[in-house]
Amino acid sequence: MLTKRIIPCLDIKEGRVVKGVKFVGLRDAGDPVEVARVYDQQEADELVFLDITASYEKRKTLVDLVEKIAKNIFMPFTVGGGIRDSADIRDLLNAGAEKVSINTAAVKLPQLISESSKKFGSQCIVVAIDAKKIQPLHAGAGWEVYINGGRTPTGIDALEWAKKAARLGAGEILLTSMDFDGTKDGYDIDLTKAISEAVSIPVIASGGAGKLEHFYDCFKNSGADACLAASIFHYQEFSVRQVKEYLKERGIAVRL
């Protein structure tokens, strides 16, 4: 049976892990390979590396980093952040990333989804969507897509965008709720359910994980195929294994 996935997410800046990974006993908690190795041992199902390097020139280090990770860690991982075109995608895949995640570039140039999925296969093209509930709140208000790391509203409806991305050949949606991200109050079930039901490609829920119940609630009630989380794992509140054991006891299919 295909299992539900638990995916730790690491923010990378100029080749280093940022936003405090607090692992005890790591020689260098800023080394993405060392951190990835810890999650590999915890049997994380995948990893996501999100490059937040501001300057494009310095982003070349990302390809080197991906190569280094792929040579040391034998598990699937996705790389995202700042990808602009098909050449960027090719470089990252050739360096050993299983998948790439595109966000702003896909919104600005939707053909990038169709072109790259045709060329590299849908299975490696993840479209990341940052969505925020439209104000004022009322029934059926929906969610709006934001780009540029959540700074720029687009006026695009998240549901419509997800459907379009899937139609253009995206192989997966990485869905972040801007309303829930950082709250530790749980995943945005309404948003995740709406998107998950609207498309027939896998959906990764992101934003809001703070307790074990949140993962269960998300898988049980939103139809998500995977849950992504960052701080809950980095600060060792729970290990990936603990989350999976909790889910397994409650009848969610996970790999253990």
């Binding site: 299992t3 190569e67 034998f74 050739n94 360096a95 050993g96 045709k118 590299f120 896998p202």
Partner: protein, 202 residues
């Protein structure tokens, strides 16, 4: 020496490194001479069937791969590399496959099934004699990431099955030719064991 065929369709480093873990000498190459003088070869690959066959053709690798296989040396296709071993694919309008296995590659189509088939799924060992799968327990989890799968004409080549909506061939083997639809180089301990098995084959 194990040749990893580099025809520009990605995913080479992890395969090379996974084999090197077990002491294998690896050469990443698209040169006929290097490939034919190696003891084993791996055909990796992600992407589209058409593009992959076009690249192989452009680089004059199709006859080289067929010659290599005839020499009875172990040959492993991974993911798209496995699909290319079959005769044709409904993904490809312009290219035929290598035709080393009989059958056609088709897309997952069942209603309500999310495609791509993405993540960790279990395999059932169908051919316990398949050396690539030696000591791999039934129901082991391996990592899949694909929308297409081969429909076998000859069930006897099925080495392992996986279920996603229905059963499909997760691994095939016949003599010296092996193919896996999943990614052993990304399947942590279980996948590394298969890589070790491949290195040990003689």
């Amino acid at each position: 020496m194990i040749a990893i065929i580099d025809y520009g369709m990605g995913n080479i480093h992890s395969v090379a490194k996974a084999l090197e873990v077990f002491g294998a000498k690896v050469i990443v190459t698209n040169k006929a001479k290097d490939i034919l003088s190696s003891d084993k070869a791996v055909l990796p690959g992600v992407g589209a069937f058409d593009d992959a066959m076009l690249e192989l053709k452009k680089q004059a690798l199709i006859p080289v791969l067929k010659d290599f296989v005839k020499s009875a040396k172990p040959f492993l296709g991974i993911c798209l590399g496995m699909q290319l071993l079959f005769e044709e694919s409904e993904e490809a309008l312009n290219s035929k496959g290598l035709g080393l296995f009989k059958g056609k590659v088709v897309k997952f189509k069942r209603e309500g099934l999310k495609v791509p088939h993405m993540g960790w799924n279990q395999i059932k060992i169908k051919n316990k004699g398949c050396l690539l799968l030696k000591d791999i327990p039934d129901n082991s989890y391996v990592y899949f990431c694909h929308s297409y799968y081969p429909v076998l004409e000859d069930d006897e080549v099925m080495a392992a099955a996986c279920n996603y909506g229905h059963d499909f061939a997760a691994a095939v083997c016949r003599g010296n030719i092996f193919g896996v639809q999943f990614h052993p180089e990304k399947s942590q301990v279980v996948g590394l064991k298969m890589m070790q098995n491949f290195v040990k084959l003689c």
